[in-house]
Symmetry: C2
Subunit: 387 residues, 2 copies
């Protein structure tokens, strides 16, 4: 198995980017990733694009917009999709492109342009990421899905609304320190608890943002990585799990079984244990999702996720710092970009280049956890600084 | 580079399948592919899904419908997309999954359900596979794109409407012999020439069908392939090219530059020349597209594609039999399934298992050519019977 490293990273500002189209957002991230690696686009052999939705991009073939705008043609490129985990599917596919020997230098770019339409319409489009035949037509969209998960977790384990709010407070705190984050706003537990109800028990501050944005990583084979970069970050483990389309098919609402499976694969492939992870980014589309992720990834026992945040053990200085880039909650969630943004963040952390106040000291092993839909696709990746 | 073989093939009946949903069509093809390989689904390690459109599937995450219905979860699966070339992106990604060492047995399934909506609406959805910002809003959809290509080819090379009709006659002839084909109807040149005008000079019989359908292939590593199958078909060459999003960016309308690039990569990787190809399937979404493909693939010189069909050199017994499964023209074109269907057809041909009257004798090397949009993504794959 050929080794694969991240040798370049780029990130657009996330937010309501009325100044930029989908292709321009992608360009912003790609340009930064090439500059970071000091590589010219002409030397890139192949590309993988993540855009999650035809409807947001008003296109049947959204990746062609990006290929065209970058002037990447006639070189190989195509799009991958796993709803909100599309970006991690792109990192996985980029890894496979290098590992299989098809190419030595591959660009992975994720982008989404979501704020041109109203929040209710955007919520409808995303709602079709769930069971669009048997659940969506009856009114269930993502806040509702995660409200069901939250209620089940509260009922079984005594998880509290305060603990959910504490996740939001942490992620808003670190988002303040991330210049690429959509929202720069500290909040308190009281503010979170008193924000308006979206889907009981989830309130405004329990929900992530709808954002525009893009992120890019350059992947290289071992030989090339050592030539291009003096600080390559190695992709050491890849996990991918799936689950039933419908929530009614799940045996347990308090865990995402695809995440447990994906984590198992990634830990095994990388040869590491949960307690060895120095820094993690997890898919906090709603605050409850971060608490469930703690448990699914083995950062704590089942049912103890609420206590983990309450005791601030996922802050820097705690057992396992999580989402110190602000997470989807405060950094934003342009759905096709998120998985790639996670790879960018872990690379920054392992290089020791995160902004002051949010750098995890001496981070050597990082993990990303990216969920598509309400668990239909879950990717877990493990990254290492050391060769 | 690990070698990868096709060890199982499955194909649904293509057509107006009001009896089956997207997931049921996929199941039909997958079941057949497992039976063909005599393998159980539990032994398949990973899956790649091709569905081209969110809108046809009324979903943000269409692959989850298929994963769920197959009971494939929690194993790895995700979707790939390159418009009408999505199926070939899935074969490529399946190949990478095995070649990279991530898995030894991978299922690749392509499916689309297109006939539930009217043809004008389907044409609109597909129209957004072109430049949906600068061309589609002004009325240009696929018949129009290929009419422009046809007019340019006629003007430069003297290609005639009769030659276009001859492509349709050939493909309808062979489609008669393919039990999985959407349409079983012989036509004459006169009937084709007198069919109603769609986009001048393209008439009804110059246009492929809008179909429902699915196809599946099982890919295996060398070790496993030899264990599972006594007739593995090896994927020997993979090419993938891209082009400008807008037709106005093209230097030449009479060729798809992405196809030329993809063919070059595939021939080089497989170490074969165009004249060594025994059987080919090409993307005849419109009759002119097959003539352009002859030239882009090096089956004849630039401008001589019309003569190649006129002299019946792409019939069985000619230089290079093309689309003896009926092609998109008569077999049908469920867009996400087409690339996988091409891999199924070439495997049948190389195994000597095609139906009587359409089997190319002693076929040892086959080629597939699959176009996304009007050339934004083009995949060329080469397959070999011999190890």
């Amino acid at each position: 198995m050929r080794k694969v490293a991240i040798v370049g990273i780029g990130h657009s500002k996330f937010g309501r980017r009325s100044d930029a189209s989908l292709r321009e957002l992608a360009f912003e991230a790609v340009k930064a990733s090439l500059a970071d690696a000091d590589v010219a686009l002409k030397d890139v052999e192949s590309m993988v694009v993540s855009v999650a939705s035809d409807e947001f991009s008003f296109s049947l073939q959204p990746s062609a917009q990006i290929v065209d705008y970058l002037n990447f043609n006639p070189k190989p490129s195509f799009r991958v999709e796993g709803a909100c985990a599309s970006g991690s599917m792109a990192v996985r596919t980029g890894w496979m492109t290098v590992a299989s020997g098809l190419a030595d230098l591959v660009l992975v770019v994720g982008a989404e342009k979501m704020t041109e339409i109203s929040t209710p319409i955007a919520t409808e489009i995303m709602g079709k990421g769930g069971d669009s035949i048997w659940e969506y037509p009856f009114g269930l969209t993502f806040p509702g899905y995660y409200a069901l998960i939250a209620r089940a977790h509260m009922a079984r384990y005594g998880t509290t609304e305060e603990q959910l709010a504490q996740v939001a407070v942490k992620n808003h705190h670190y988002g303040m320190l991330n210049p690429y984050a959509h929202m720069h706003k500290e909040i308190t537990v009281d503010e979170a608890l008193n924000s308006f109800m979206v889907a009981d028990p989830l309130k405004l501050y329990d929900c992530c943002l709808i954002s525009d944005g893009a992120a890019a990583v350059l992947l290289a084979s071992e030989r090339l990585a050592k030539k291009i970069s003096d600080k390559p970050v190695w992709i050491a483990g890849l996990g991918l799990g799936t689950d039933t389309l419908s929530m009614t098919g799940r045996r347990d609402l308090t865990t995402l079984s695809g995440a447990v499976v994906a984590a198992g694969q990634a830990y095994k492939m990388a040869g590491v244990k949960p307690k060895e992870i120095d820094v993690a980014v997890v898919h906090d589309c709603f605050t409850i999702a971060e608490i469930v992720a703690y448990e699914d990834l083995g950062f704590c026992k089942q049912g103890e996720g609420g206590k983990l945040i309450e005791e601030k053990r996922t802050y820097i200085g705690g057992d396992i710092p999580v989402n110190v880039d602000g997470g989807l909650k405060s950094k934003g969630h342009p759905i096709g970009a998120t998985g790639v943004s996670m790879a960018v963040e872990i690379t920054k952390q392992l290089r020791g280049e995160a902004e002051p106040g949010r750098q995890v000291p001496h981070a050597g092993i990082g993990l990303s956890h990216n969920v598509g839909g309400n668990g239909q696709h879950v990717a877990v990746h493990i990254y290492r600084r050391e060769d």
